[in-house]
């Protein structure tokens, strides 16, 4: 059952072979057993989950169920969920219980009737690539407990990889769905900016943040995305487009598909065995009938520096609301307004968040704005133009998700620039607002352990269904995505 696809779970629930309460209990038991070590969830509320499962069973019995009604999922703790503590990985929100639901929560839990198993761990305010910046402690990678699961959606990745949830939500600002998916052998999709509403999703960098599914297969991701996406008038950047069935093209053959390989992705920096796995995947796509062409993204190298101007700039402003006045952490000791702010924020935020607030404040300051923020916005446009030119020559772009497999906990924590470079292949996609996904494409050996390698597919705007099709066809031909960590 724990390896079942969403489709299989849906069928089992529909056929009454299992109830949502039983299924939920099964996962809650696994969470109780595995989570104390893995630390993938920061909040579990069995009673609440079981009550939701009961309601889902009733809905199924009443005959007005959605395909996913009663299917459990893990929610990244960045989504506000009414009645649930919502921490965003920060001490700042340690006691914050949301009075309202994020749009994603409404869609998945209320409209589709899915059952939340709990809130997953994450880098603080989604700032990190290893889940080590979480106030609630690091998350272990189920493939090697001494390694990181990636970030910022590391808790969601570890939860699904360890089968503590059949599927999870994540958010991706610079790779936070795709990189942990790669490091934990999952399939994850970051949709086109504006496809999933950001209402109730705690903002890191508003112009880059986008929620998406993290699951065991492209097919599962397609089903979850279909239930998550859609226009939301409460988010002004949400796109008013017709509702899509993202699974509609899964079975399309790939003959005639043009896959572009950006030469900049394959220049250097990629680890040899990661490169090998990616090359093997390219060969597999050839067999499936795809044509491989070389493309170029000449401004790719500017994506990390541009991102580390724009994202912190927006974050510095987005995080100003955490001031200890209305909710969230307030320092016990203060003498005046300024010390209330200073002490509350000094205590409530971790080091990485502070670093980014400082960077963001700096680049927006008078006299620096033109040199940093405006320049970065120009780079952003150039990167989008690069992609547009590339998509004139190919249907999807293929490359690695991450330059290396999961690194050791603590290995990069002291060197922020090294940490930032682990998102070197994913960041440009957010800057351009394009959809991108990661899927398992093999393993590399490290210290006698098998560690997953992720393959990244990038599509043109609104090509999610096509990307999922390209991933699904690969997953029909390979079994990388079906492998699971040992000892669980």
């Amino acid at each position: 059952m724990i390896n079942a696809s969403l489709k299989e779970l849906s069928a089992a629930l529909a056929d009454k072979r299992i109830s949502s309460v039983e299924l939920t209990q099964l996962y809650l038991d696994r969470i109780a057993r595995l989570n104390p070590d893995l630390n993938a969830y920061v909040t579990v509320d069995a009673a609440r989950s079981l009550a939701a499962a009961q309601a889902a069973d009733a809905r199924r019995a009443a005959g007005n169920a959605h395909a996913l009604t009663g299917v459990p999922l893990a929610q990244k703790d960045i989504f506000c969920a009414e009645g649930w503590r919502t921490t965003c990985g920060s001490k700042m929100l340690e006691t914050f219980v949301s009075p309202y639901d994020a749009h994603v929560v409404t869609r998945l839990e209320k409209d589709a009737g899915m059952v939340s198993l709990g809130k997953t761990n994450m880098d603080e305010f989604a700032m990190g690539s290893s889940n080590e910046t979480s106030y609630y402690g690091p998350v272990q990678n189920p493939w090697d407990r001494s390694r990181v699961p990636g970030g910022s959606s590391g808790g969601s990745a570890a939860a699904v990889a360890a089968r503590m949830a059949p599927i999870a939500t994540g958010t991706d600002t610079g790779g936070s769905i795709r990189q942990p998916a790669a490091l934990c052998n999952l399939t994850g999709l970051k949709p086109t900016y504006g496809v999933v509403s950001r209402w109730g999703m705690i903002a890191f960098a508003s112009s880059l943040d986008q929620a998406g599914p993290m699951g065991k297969s492209a097919e599962d991701c397609a089903l979850l995305l279909s239930a998550m996406a859609g226009f939301d008038p409460k988010d002004s950047t949400s796109l008013d487009r017709p509702v899509e069935d993202y699974a509609r093209d899964l079975e399309q053959p790939l003959a005639g598909l043009k896959i572009g390989l950006p030469k900049e992705f394959f220049a250097d920096g990629m680890n040899a065995d990661v490169a090998q796995a990616v090359e093997a995947a390219i060969a597999e796509y050839r067999k499936l009938g795809a044509e491989i062409v070389e493309v170029s993204l000449p401004n790719m190298k500017l994506s990390v520096p541009a991102y580390y101007v724009i994202a912190p700039a927006e974050a510095s402003s987005n995080l100003s609301r955490f001031d200890g006045v209305r909710y969230g952490h307030r320092a016990a000791e203060y003498t005046d307004l300024t010390s209330l702010y200073k002490n509350s924020r000094a205590e409530g935020f971790g080091a990485e968040v502070k670093r980014r607030i400082l960077i963001g404040t700096y680049v927006l300051s008078h006299g620096y704005y033109d040199a940093y923020y405006l320049q970065a916005q120009k780079v952003r446009r150039l990167i989008a133009q690069d992609f547009a030119a590339a998509f004139a020559q190919c249907d999807v772009i293929l490359g690695p998700t991450s330059p290396d497999v999961a690194f050791r906990a603590g290995e990069k924590a002291a060197d922020p620039v090294q940490m930032y470079l682990s998102d070197i292949y994913t960041i440009a996609v957010n800057l351009a607002g394009l959809p991108g996904m990661s899927l398992p494409c093999g393993f590399a050996q490290r210290d006698g352990k098998r560690l997953p390698v992720g393959l990244q597919l990038i599509g043109d705007y609104f090509s999610e269904a096509r990307l999922l099709n390209v991933a699904h066809q690969y997953q029909r031909a390979t079994d990388w995505h079906q492998q699971m960590p040992e000892g669980l």
Binding site: L93, S98, A203, S206, P233, D235, S236, A313, R326
Partner: protein, 486 residues
């Protein structure tokens, strides 16, 4: 040395929308603290702003009313600073690309003989949200925060530094105040803070082209304070300069109790607001079609109406300006003319005189607004009609007006009838009175014949007195003249 004063105003007009600029919360004034502050207004984690279409329409109305360019594309920006009544830690405003650019406001400065017209250029007007309120009293050394006002839509209207005296600044503020009410975008309630001004004031030696260093007087919420604050500030700046001092750029507050301004912060500790485009909001795009749609709902503007009153009714420029100084006065005048029907056009000047004279004086005396005048426009029209057809004289009309004001009658006709105020126009009756007065006042007659004009007036007065004011004054005049000449 001769000094020239230079003033520019920044005005915050609270827009008359039902809900806030980026949330669905009510904007009604006076509710219990924090009862009109929902998730967005509280800046809970994860909330997002959605622009209120009505607020944009208000900005379009304003742009059209002042002949400005309504930007086809404008951008909301975040103004970042920390304050407890600013829940997000930033204010959503517009910075580099405002919704309204340019425009003019034509003012009538001064009264009567000294009145002159002045055109003040507008720099821009932009949409933004208001902050909440910090309540420093009643919390025993702590500060209370009321977020009901947070997110209330404001239009900040910025003038060029075109004004040269506090009188011009006040005329500008009054004209602007009347305009925003006229076009229905702001209730103009200054006590509730719906309309407040910041004044940038500097002085320079007359003839010098470069501006002096300015100081900004914040948050003036009455025309009187605006005048007092500028007058004080100008005196202070001139004295400082004449004493060999220098003006430092600063933000100052006006204290109505002392009538003085004092510096709140200097340029050195001016905040860096780190403006940048708000990524939560798309650029505001206003199509020509939308502009046209709004334009179709615009009332006749004060300037247009003024020109029409002059052309159609032959009113003087001053009268036309006075009657269009506020929407309420203009509406009252229009309603009175409408009640007069076909006779309206001929009586327009008389109506104008009554509105600007007796009615205005009486309203002032009782501290009332024309909107709640005890004498309605229809009642005044009835009164003017009776003056027009010689039923009553002007002097009697004042009596009738007073009676209507006090509620002693539903209409002028009723008052005239009840109090027997109908004018005597029977020349036989008047002649009899004239003869009696001439016979009884030989002294005045002799004086008049000796060339003393005043004596004639005394005789007229005697006749009117004998007629209890009801004799037709023109007939009395004519008859007296004829008899005295004979």
């Amino acid at each position: 040395m001769q000094w020239e004063v230079v003033i520019g105003l920044e005005t915050h007009a609270q827009l008359s929308t039902v809900s806030k600029i980026f949330s669905g919360s009510s904007t009604a004034f006076g509710a219990e603290p924090n009862t009109q502050a929902a998730a967005i207004d509280l800046a809970l984690p994860g909330v997002l702003p959605v622009l209120n279409r009505k607020a944009v329409e208000c900005a379009i109305r304003f742009g059209l009313a002042v002949g400005a360019e309504v930007s086809p594309r404008s951008v909301f920006a975040r103004k970042n600073y920390f304050y407890p009544d600013l829940p997000k830690g930033y204010q959503i405003s517009q910075f580099e690309l405002p919704v309204v650019v340019g425009g003019n406001l034509v003012l009538q400065v001064g009264q009567g003989e000294n009145a002159y017209e002045k055109t003040v250029r507008l720099t821009r007007a932009h949409l933004e949200e208001d902050a909440g309120k910090s309540l420093h009293e009643d919390f025993h050394g702590k500060t209370g925060i009321d977020l009901n006002r947070a997110g209330t839509p404001l239009l900040e209207i910025v003038s060029e530094p075109d004004m040269r005296s506090s009188a011009e600044a006040v005329a500008y503020a009054k004209t602007l105040h009347a305009l925003v009410r006229w076009i229905g975008i702001c209730d103009g309630n200054m006590q509730e803070g719906s309309f407040r001004c910041d004044a940038n004031v500097s002085v320079r030696p007359k003839g010098q082209e470069a501006f002096g260093t300015r100081r900004e007087i914040k948050n003036l919420n009455s025309f009187r304070f605006l005048q007092q604050a500028i007058d004080y500030e100008v005196r202070w700046q001139i004295e400082t300069l004449e004493d060999g001092g220098k003006i430092e750029q600063a933000t100052v507050l006006f204290d109505p109790d002392t009538g003085e301004t004092r510096a709140m912060r200097s340029k050195e500790d001016a905040q860096d607001y780190r403006y940048f485009p708000d990524p939560d909001l798309l650029p505001l795009v206003i199509s020509d079609a939308w502009k046209a749609e709004v334009k179709a709902t615009m009332p006749e503007l004060p300037g247009e109406k003024r020109a029409r009153l002059e052309a159609e009714y032959g009113l003087s420029a001053y009268d036309a300006a006075t009657l269009t100084a506020s929407l309420e006065v203009a509406d009252y005048f229009d309603a009175a003319l409408a009640a007069l029907g076909a006779a309206g056009k001929a009586q327009a000047k008389t109506v104008a005189n009554w509105v600007m004279g007796e009615l205005s004086a009486r309203l002032n005396k009782d501290g009332r607004e024309i909107g709640d005048s005890p004498v309605s426009a229809a009642q005044l029209a009835g009164l003017v009609a009776r003056i027009g057809d010689n039923t009553i004289s002007n002097a009697i009309a004042k009596k009738v007006f007073e009676a209507l004001w006090n509620g002693d009658g539903q209409s002028a006709d009723e008052v005239i009838d009840k109090q027997g105020l109908k004018q005597i126009t029977d020349s036989g009756a008047i002649e009899k009175l004239v003869d009696e007065v001439l016979a009884a006042n030989p002294g005045n007659v002799a004086e008049y014949k000796a060339g003393k004009e005043k004596a004639f007036n005394a005789l007229v007065g005697q006749v009117m007195k004998a007629a209890k004011g009801k004799a037709n004054p023109q007939q009395v005049n004519d008859l007296l003249k004829a008899k005295l000449a004979g």
